[in-house]
Subunit: 318 residues, 2 copies
Amino acid sequence: MTDFRALGLPQRVPAPEPGALPSRVTIWEVGPRDGLQNESTTLTLDVKLEFLRRLAAAGLSVLEATSFVSPRWVPQLADAAELIAALPQVPGVRYPVLVPNERGLDRALEAGIAEIAIFGSATESFARRNLNCGMAEQFAMFEPVVSRATSAGLRVRGYLSMCFGDPWEGTPDPASVAETGRRLLDLGCDQLSLGDTIGVATPGQVETLLKAFDEVGVGVDRLAVHFHDTFGQALSNTLAALRAGVSTVDSSAGGLGGCPYAESATGNLATEDLVWMLDGLGIEHGVDLDELVRTSVWMARQLGRPSASRVVTALGGS
Amino acid sequence: MTDFRALGLPQRVPAPEPGALPSRVTIWEVGPRDGLQNESTTLTLDVKLEFLRRLAAAGLSVLEATSFVSPRWVPQLADAAELIAALPQVPGVRYPVLVPNERGLDRALEAGIAEIAIFGSATESFARRNLNCGMAEQFAMFEPVVSRATSAGLRVRGYLSMCFGDPWEGTPDPASVAETGRRLLDLGCDQLSLGDTIGVATPGQVETLLKAFDEVGVGVDRLAVHFHDTFGQALSNTLAALRAGVSTVDSSAGGLGGCPYAESATGNLATEDLVWMLDGLGIEHGVDLDELVRTSVWMARQLGRPSASRVVTALGGS
């Protein structure tokens, strides 16, 4: 069990007075990839396709569909190529896929996808464990992936994981995180998603990191946030990010997923809980909440366990 | 099943730019009363006393200990008098108890308690169902309770439930809620706790209601907030309330409790999840989180079910 408290978590970062909220938010739905990759129940290709079809029907316009990672690491997503070949074609719906390296890019290009995401690390420890290279070496690893992808006309998103704390080092220095993120963007990514992979962040930390990015010339228009709800902070942190001007938020239908490093069942921020807050704040998002709740109730049945989303529990009758 | 969406929930209330955070927050721990009263597993007097002793040892200074409600309504708290007689005496720790009416006050005075809370309603429907009287009649019912209590030197807190929505009427008018709350305070209460009894509120609503109170002459120094996490919004709403200047927050260790009207297992804001956020924001609260998590792990064993708190799940190894 990770001793989060001994690592000085949560880090103490008072929050300054924040700003106004955006009028519209893009929800980047990561359930099919970040959610399912951590689920132990193996789903069939048909179930995954039905999940994507339902998410699109609920109005979600960015669906991170799968990952071209090695099937040995993530057996759940071993059917990535078949999935991409059979994706429901819905006008206005984008299907980015995660690509860990050049081999993954080859498979993605072969499958004819239009948009990829790469997955970098904000800490040395996580880089060594998850990328099998050092912090500094990751840029060399990603450089040919991004340049080949952009040359082929693909859009590239960068993920930066462990931005607010990791289970080995505690809290990384915000200036260092921002510098790492800027270098990933400079490779040719059009957006960077800041991940709280173990869910330890609090709102002051979010605002501080966004300021650190601003100081290295990266504005909130190029940033997204990706919170996990391990410590119950995901929605508060999202509120802080929205207040700071961020308008792309990652979430997972039904709160699917989790982090294997946090030894807890708690997954991503649930899309339904996010939508409830956005609805209440009058922020546009394009999602039909009732349709989405029905989808998550259906997915919970496929996985044989209740949804982690509070909204799904309250509205879904499950 | 209540059709929350047909009731127009969540209500759309955009949030203005909020203010700075308080440097210190008083946590009003409601687990022993609001938490346990909704738990179906009956606990012994010894377990309840041990719970209170552990909560005090964890640094919580306001413990709402029990309720002098009719044992027919809340069998779990039928031992209120014995509990009060055996309360652990800890310097600086207050033990308010809930008192529904004059009969309850008689029992509370007999037990020698120093502090009571009354439980009013912000909506007509909930008043009729929970108080067996109309909205307007509740003041006549509470008037002798509060005047006799204050004459006897007792401190009196007012609860105002269903401030942000109820399962029959939808969202009440903020000006009407503020007027009802002001009248409860005018009876002689020194603090009013604004309850989101079914957990539907979002941050803009919180700020709007606090402004409505200000407009009827009730400042944030006399207000507390009481959020349920039914729709996952409790901590975000708390953040909004803190930003508006509120510095007393109700919560329940381990997220104990629930609302019988919401047909969901989700209870109060978990004290641990609140403490994690306050810790991260550098806001003083006096609570030892590790001790509190151990307490909630122990209580979860007594109740035979996992804690609803994300922090307890992540840190408690349960």
